[in-house]
């Protein structure tokens, strides 16, 4: 790779931190207790070497304290290395802290200037970006109000908008994609994709492996101050997760930090593998398409769901107030124990209307050792006319999904009654003192 293609060149980088037993730094401590002020030197990075090429998006992973955040700070220039060096080609912007230098009493607009100037932008550069920043933050109507009147979500939106519009050639990001509401997050993510497409070099430190897989072309696993693996994210991550799992099993300490995300990730992976073994290629393609809606470890799989009004006829349209039968068939790849069956109803907008499972409904746990089925009967379905999506789940143990099928099917409801709202509440009328004229008494 020619030298000018390298955006970040890290050579034999090492960093020590002093760990004080008792951080006494006052005059008295220094003079009277010279010996007390002892410290250990902990080597956080022990000689790391790698190149990152222009336009690469790289994820740094590793467990807490492995040195990945320190590495990011060394690259950004916040920390100085004890050994080795970092060479960077182009302007760096680090999204390690959002809203740096914000002054609560100043307006959003003034704070854009302060914050952007801390990233090293000149007045002219800020002027040129001001409109983009305001547009991206969606805060145009509040931009001249003091920042202290903002909600924390608005505050983060403004801060992120500045940081993302710096136009650096190298962008360093530390766990900050969790800003604002889901909409704004999606917007940030697509903005990052856009920045990546423009050829910006991006380095992300994140705990979310799936986020890195979605976004990065390369993953570097830092372990105890050294690079343990470096390559395509999926490969590096599976090595990493296997290692973490071994570590946990070896220590027998289930409390050892393994984020739920890792578990879900592993289960999803295993599930996909299992499914692939037993499916035609068309089915596989279908599953790929729907993977966002179905996950689980895959020991038991739902094979079919039939919806009827209690007879044998498949039906998707029901009158409000009638009974609906959901019959779910499943097959067993591997027996599971302590299983729970569940169902959930959602609006098209994603709002959860109702959900329950056999544990909530006071059934015992089920051992599933052979293929079978379960039926749930919704009596007098009272969802008002609309389309609804229904999800099904089989899980076991502490809620570990075996097959979670979100939005497995849709049903519609209708009614000839003119009442309004989301649900039909079971009701009666009673009257006293008023006299009903020419009616049929509610009949």
């Amino acid at each position: 790779m020619p030298e000018n293609q390298v955006a970040i060149k890290v050579t034999n980088l090492a960093k020590n931190f002093k760990v004080y037993y008792d951080k006494g730094r006052s005059l008295k401590d220094v003079i009277l207790f010279r010996n007390r002020n002892r410290h250990d030197v902990r080597q956080v990075l022990k000689g790391v070497t790698f190149d990152i090429n222009k336009g690469e998006a790289v994820g740094l992973i590793g467990h807490n304290g492995c040195g990945k955040s320190t590495l990011l700070k060394l690259i950004s220039g916040i920390l100085y290395p004890d050994q080795g060096d970092v060479k960077i080609n182009g302007r760096v912007s680090s999204l390690l802290e959002l809203g740096a230098g914000f002054h609560p009493d100043m307006s959003g607009r003034e704070n854009i200037y302060i914050n952007a100037s801390i990233f090293g932008l000149s007045k002219k550069e800020i002027d040129a970006r001001l409109q983009d920043i305001i547009d991206f933050s969606e805060l145009a109507e509040f931009i001249d109000n003091p920042v202290r009147t903002y909600s924390s979500g608005m505050y983060m939106r403004l801060a992120f908008s500045v940081a993302i519009n710096v136009d650096a050639e190298v962008l360093l990001i530390d766990e900050i994609l969790a800003v604002g509401d889901a909409n704004f997050q999606a917007k940030c993510f697509s903005k990052l994709q856009e920045i990546k497409a423009k050829g910006t070099t991006i380095v992300i430190v994140s705990h979310s492996l799936s986020q890195i897989e979605q976004f990065c072309t390369r993953s570097i696993w830092i372990h105890e101050g050294l690079i343990k693996a470096d390559g395509i994210p999926i490969d590096v991550h599976s090595q990493y997760l296997e290692y973490m799992n071994e570590l946990r099993e070896k220590s027998g300490d289930s409390s050892l930090e393994i984020p739920a995300e890792y578990l879900a990730y592993m289960q999803e992976k295993r599930y996909k593998e299992n499914l692939r073994l037993s499916m035609t290629s068309e089915q596989q393609a279908e599953i790929e398409k729907n993977k966002a809606f179905r996950w689980g470890s895959g020991e038991v799989q739902i094979t079919s769901i039939s919806v009827t009004a209690g007879d044998d006829k498949e039906c998707r349209l029901f009158e409000v107030g009638t009974d609906v039968y959901f019959k779910v068939k499943y097959k067993v790849n591997k027996p599971i124990y302590d299983a729970v069956f569940g169902i959930g109803f959602f609006r098209n907008s994603g709002e959860n209307l109702y959900g329950t499972n056999t544990r909530i409904d006071n059934y015992g746990k089920f051992d599933i050792t052979e293929d079978g089925e379960f039926t749930i009967i919704i009596r007098n379905i009272n969802l008002m006319p609309d389309q609804y999506t229904v999800s099904f789940s089989i899980e076991y143990g502490q809620g570990i999904p075996v097959d979670y099928w979100k939005d497995a099917l849709k049903i519609d409801t209708f009614t000839s009654i003119m009442d309004v709202g989301g649900f039909r509440l079971n009701h009666d009328w009673e009257f006293k003192g008023s006299k009903e004229l020419e009616g049929n008494g509610g009949k």
Partner: protein, 258 residues
Amino acid sequence: MSRLKEIFEYRQMITSMVRRDLRGRYKGSVLGFMWTFINPLLQLLVYNMVFSIILRAGIEKFYLYLFVALIPWLFFSASITGGSVSIISQKDLIKKIYFPREVIPISYVTAAFVNMMLSFIVVLAVSFASGVRPTVGGILCLPVIMIVEYIMALGIAFISSALTVYFRDLEHILGIIAMAWMYATPICYPESYVPEKYLSLYRLNPVTPMVNAYRDVLYYGQTPDLKNLGLATVIGVVTLLIGVLVFGKLQKHFAEEL
């Protein structure tokens, strides 16, 4: 040199920080920015009461004598004491964001300097109203004196802000030093009060030639002694160079010491 270029690239940050400091200072008060002018006027009033009515010093127009030296001194002492905590008070920025660390003390001293210049509007007005007619040479020298003072204050702020990160007691020690320094400088008394045998020691004070230069222009209405001014300039430049070197050396570990 590359460091200097980088600081120049971050000039907008310096501007923003100075503006934030000045605007934030009187934010929320009824008189707001007017305090920049009212404050020195009220101080003048107090000093006038004390030294013209109670402690009669026997110096003509003593309030002015004091005032033209005190305003520059207040800037200088703010640069020592406030400057010393400037890095510590911005630790969130320093731990999380990269920028040339020099920006912080520069911004702090510059904000204090701008504040002094605004106060000087009052000083000039009072001086003129008291019948002092500065010479053309004096007027030309005034910006030079200010710049020399700025350079010296910046040099000291570099040193004190960097050292305080590693040795927090310095903040309090510097408070006392600043007070002692004020009385070791001819601010509220003339140099002639100092006993002969201490005079050579007394003259080592680098601030004295500066204060004398201010007083020459704004109290005596004469052109300052250029030799005096030249000496102050040399001292200022040397202080700044030492400051830059010390700061450059110490700033590498700021992020982990804070």
